[in-house]
Amino acid sequence: MLMGDNNRIVFIVDDDDAVRDSLSFLMKSIGIESRSFASATEFLEFYDDNIAGCLVLDIRMPGMSGLELQDRLNEINAILPIIFITGHGDVPMAVEALKKGALDFIQKPFRDQDLIDRINHALDQDHDSRNILSEKREILDHMDQLTNREKEVMELVVQGNPNKIIAADLDVSQRTVEIHRARVMEKMRARSLAQLVRMSITANSDP
């Protein structure tokens, strides 16, 4: 496993004491840190989206249900992937949860190994999402340092326009475009046009 992966936590939210106990024990046995909560409300009080990990969530709970907790997390664009624990008859709820972005489901009663596989997959997914997000934040930080004119030049450059066209478009000399272009590459820390184009795509991507 990579360094830093030790900071991830498997959050367990289930109103059933026995389920919480056995899942905590299972996580301990495979050396993954976990934290259990008896209700969605308790989890929300503790929750911080900067903590990497995943959420193992009972879909059916008194008070705030698993689906409602998912809604709350979606409202704040939480990254944390969710594995729902479902019962046999929970098909319509599972369909709804899936449409709202749930990563995975596990139906009670389940085999330990089945859950462990799903948790490992969810942790990988979380790791990837966080990497993409931090890369995007870094690119946006660099873009913030560009002047408006440099932003215009960058836009035209990544569209594939040669300096001559950009100069005509912005009604400046070709030499001026060259200077702006060099500043853009420097501020964005881009070593090639291809890299700049990739940065622009990442910056404009959805999540």
Binding site: T86, H88, D90, V91, A94, V95, L98, K99, F105, Q107
Partner: protein, 131 residues
């Protein structure tokens, strides 16, 4: 709700019912016709495929238990042939893993039998209006 769908649904679009059970075909047909949808029913996936060239389906309601294949298999077959229709998968034996597979495979919805008329109609209306 229902009258709205009549004005926005192109008149020649069909709701195609693909189900091995004649009672379900009949029940769905009656329900949808009452809401001004035009329907056509097929007892199997292959019977639907035979007629497909002459049809313009707006959406499909596919049974999970088809003769010789599952509804999910039929959905894959359609995809392999290059078709994509908004599809509701209808299933008597249902569990979370079939439902999840259906949605991941692109089904617009997964509905358990017995279905709730009003909910099913809402879904069909939505799918027919989308196009």
């Amino acid at each position: 709700m229902i009258s709205k769908s009549r004005t926005t649904t192109p008149a020649n679009r069909l709701v195609c019912i693909i189900n091995a059970d004649p009672n379900i075909r009949k029940k769905l047909g009656v329900l949808l016709k009452r809401s001004k949808h035009q329907t056509k029913s097929f007892a199997s996936g292959s019977k639907f495929l035979d007629k497909l060239e002459a049809l313009s389906p707006g959406c499909l309601i596919v049974g999970q238990d088809l003769p010789g294949q599952t509804g999910l298999e039929f959905m894959s077959e359609l995809e392999q042939r290059g078709y994509s229709f908004p599809t509701i998968l209808l299933s008597r034996k249902s569990n979370v893993s079939i439902a999840v597979r259906a949605i991941r495979q692109g089904a617009a919805d997964f509905v358990e039998i017995p279905w709730v008329d009003r909910k099913l109609l809402n879904t069909v209306d939505k799918l027919m209006r989308k196009q």
